[in-house]
């Protein structure tokens, strides 16, 4: 696999940042976009734009078909059973809110328990916190060990007869921990508890097969999967989508509207009220094509290589400390440098064209657990090479020089 050929599909890498070539190591935050996706947006707006599902003119028919093509493509990509199980949302955050709200309305009463973990991004905690505020739910956190792995035994012990749902990330955006979802789902199945998986970090980097995972809900952020912003996906087992109440009300999600009653549209429209990000959904089809053209197995292999190279090299730099050491780690590397705050690191490496993230990465619970207020994070995408890691390490040496570290 030739990384330069892949990289050349991303126009942004021809740009200079602060006079230097861009070394983009912030893909956990958002990925860059391949030309196929950019061209699709451009082509759709220039040649094919229409709103979907409403009008019967030719443009509308074509736009609707294209929109549904993406749904079909997502269904196949994550191996869902039915295309009605794929709901387009604004982002993954909205996907999780959709579940928390509708599931909460139907199933959560005072004293019921929601089990999440210490690894969770704020977007897989705050929506459940609303149920704590509005319905008196109790939120429990399955603990992690110092390596950043969820302690499965403890998770098991936290399950009670009041546990109504388990919500857990597939891949930590701080430690890079790949969570054993199948194992958690098996535990939950025995107690008949549904499982929601936050798949924001996993979808672009590891194989996602919802049938194999057997989870009830799976949230995806398309802009992290080399796709456009403004689109998220909720996968949910059909039985849930049929059973749960609708979320946002409005046009497109109704079947019949009378003064005294309203009936709702069948799936998936029931959950897709209002005008959707049509061009973006259509363009996301190109993201899946892009990933398929490389092959997820090749992506995993390449990113593993770059990650291991980065870990080896970073560990050799004096005063660099890698956050977490999970059993199964993807290309998310958070680190600290003794004597330099992560924000200072980020500013200095930016001068060298290196884009990393600094802060708590929307994981304050996790940072508190690890005794940290902030970390610097380098996260790897398919376009990153070992050379990018070399540039990162050189720029870290520059930080050490500016701060006169020994």
């Amino acid at each position: 696999m030739d990384i330069n050929t892949i990289k050349s599909q991303f126009p942004i890498f021809s740009k200079k940042i602060n006079g230097k070539p861009l070394t983009y190591l912030d893909s956990s935050n958002s990925s860059q976009k391949p030309i196929g996706v950019i061209n699709s947006l451009d082509f759709f707006y220039k040649n094919e734009f229409s709103n979907i599902g409403r009008s019967i003119h030719s443009l509308a028919v074509n736009a609707t078909n294209k929109f549904e093509e993406t749904r079909m493509s997502v269904k196949n990509f994550i191996n869902a059973s039915h295309k009605e199980e794929i709901i387009f949302t604004k982002n993954a955050t909205e996907a999780i809110n959709l579940v928390a709200t509708t599931f909460g309305q139907q199933n959560i009463k005072k004293g019921d328990e929601i089990l999440i973990t210490e690894l969770e991004h704020h977007s897989n905690y705050v929506p459940w916190h609303y149920l704590r505020e509005t319905r008196g739910a109790i939120i429990k956190f399955a603990p992690i060990n110092d390596d950043g792995d969820i302690i499965i035994e403890e998770l098991k012990n936290l399950i009670t007869s009041k546990t109504k749902i388990i919500a857990v990330t597939h891949l930590s955006n701080v430690t890079g921990t790949i969570v054993p979802i199948k194992e958690i789902v098996e535990i939950a199945r025995k107690k008949n508890i549904p499982v929601l998986v936050d798949g924001c970090q996993s979808t672009p980097h590891i194989k996602v097969d919802v049938k194999d995972l057997d989870c009830d809900f799976y949230a995806i952020s398309c802009h992290k999967v080399y796709g456009p912003t403004g689109v998220g996906i909720l996968y949910a087992k059909k039985k849930w989508l049929e059973k749960l109440p609708p979320y946002i009300g409005g046009g497109g999600m109704i079947s019949e509207v009378k003064k005294d009653k309203i009936s709702y549209a069948p799936l998936p429209e029931k959950y897709e009220a209002g005008t959707m990000p049509t061009a973006e959904v259509v363009a996301f089809c190109e993201s899946i094509k892009f990933i398929k053209s490389i092959g997820i197995e090749n992506i995993v292999k390449h990113e593993k290589e770059v990650t291991n190279y980065a870990l080896d090299k970073l560990k050799k730099i004096n005063s660099v400390n890698i956050v977490g050491n999970p059993k199964n780690k993807a290309g998310v590397i958070s680190f600290t440098i003794k004597g330099i705050h992560p924000h200072d690191i980020s500013t200095i490496v930016d001068e060298e064209g290196v884009a990393i993230r600094a802060g708590h990465h929307c994981c304050q619970i996790l940072h508190e657990r690890l005794g940290l207020t902030a970390t610097a994070r380098a996260s790897i995408g398919i376009y990153n090479s070992k050379e990018d890691i070399d540039v990162l390490c050189e720029s870290i040496e520059k930080c050490r020089k500016v701060f006169e570290l020994k």
Binding site: G339, I340, H341, P342, H343, D344, T347, I348, E351, A358, G359, H360, Q364, H367, T373, A374, V402, F403, E404
Partner: protein
């Protein structure tokens, strides 16, 4: 711009070994500041005497080099000043960060002006401005006896 213009020696020194660090015994005013974007926290302790003079001023907190240095330098510049003079130093600092670089203040000597100016490089780094201004807003809040924590997302700069 060279990053060294931001991380001048004077900033690195204050960042590494901040002045007036620690809780102040017998303080009369205090305030907390928080930057939710990065989690930086600062707590300012202030002792105003009967003539409304800043008799002593210390801080506790965690943050980046810019934020610690800015807080440390602030305590040095404001300590011993009258209430009014302290206010005009704060205003001069904030307007330096916002637009003007020149500082016309009779309350500061040349050496102190240089210290304040050492923070002006932050202007070139919009994402870092709040690192530098957090402590100064928090000091204002302490002086005005406000109860609510200062949050960088709800102040002007």
């Amino acid at each position: 711009m060279d990053v060294k213009q931001l991380y001048q020696d004077i900033i690195l020194e204050h960042g590494k070994s901040p002045q007036n660090f620690g809780k102040l015994d017998g303080y009369s005013h205090e305030a907390k500041g928080y930057n939710p974007l990065c989690g930086d926290q600062v707590q300012i302790y202030l002792k105003l005497n009967n003539e409304k003079k800043v008799e002593n001023l210390t801080f506790e907190g965690s943050g980046c080099a810019i934020s610690i240095a800015s807080t440390s330098i602030m305590t040095e510049l404001v300590k011993g000043k009258s209430f009014i003079s302290a206010k005009s130093i704060i205003n001069a600092f904030l307007s330096m960060i916002k637009n003007k670089t020149e500082i016309r203040l009779k309350d500061l000597d040349e050496d102190q002006k240089i210290k304040m100016m050492s923070l002006s490089g932050v202007k070139q780094y919009p994402m870092r401005v709040k690192c530098a201004t957090l402590a100064w807003h928090t000091l204002t809040s302490a002086m005005e006896g406000k109860k609510q924590q200062v949050n960088t997302e709800t102040v002007d700069i």
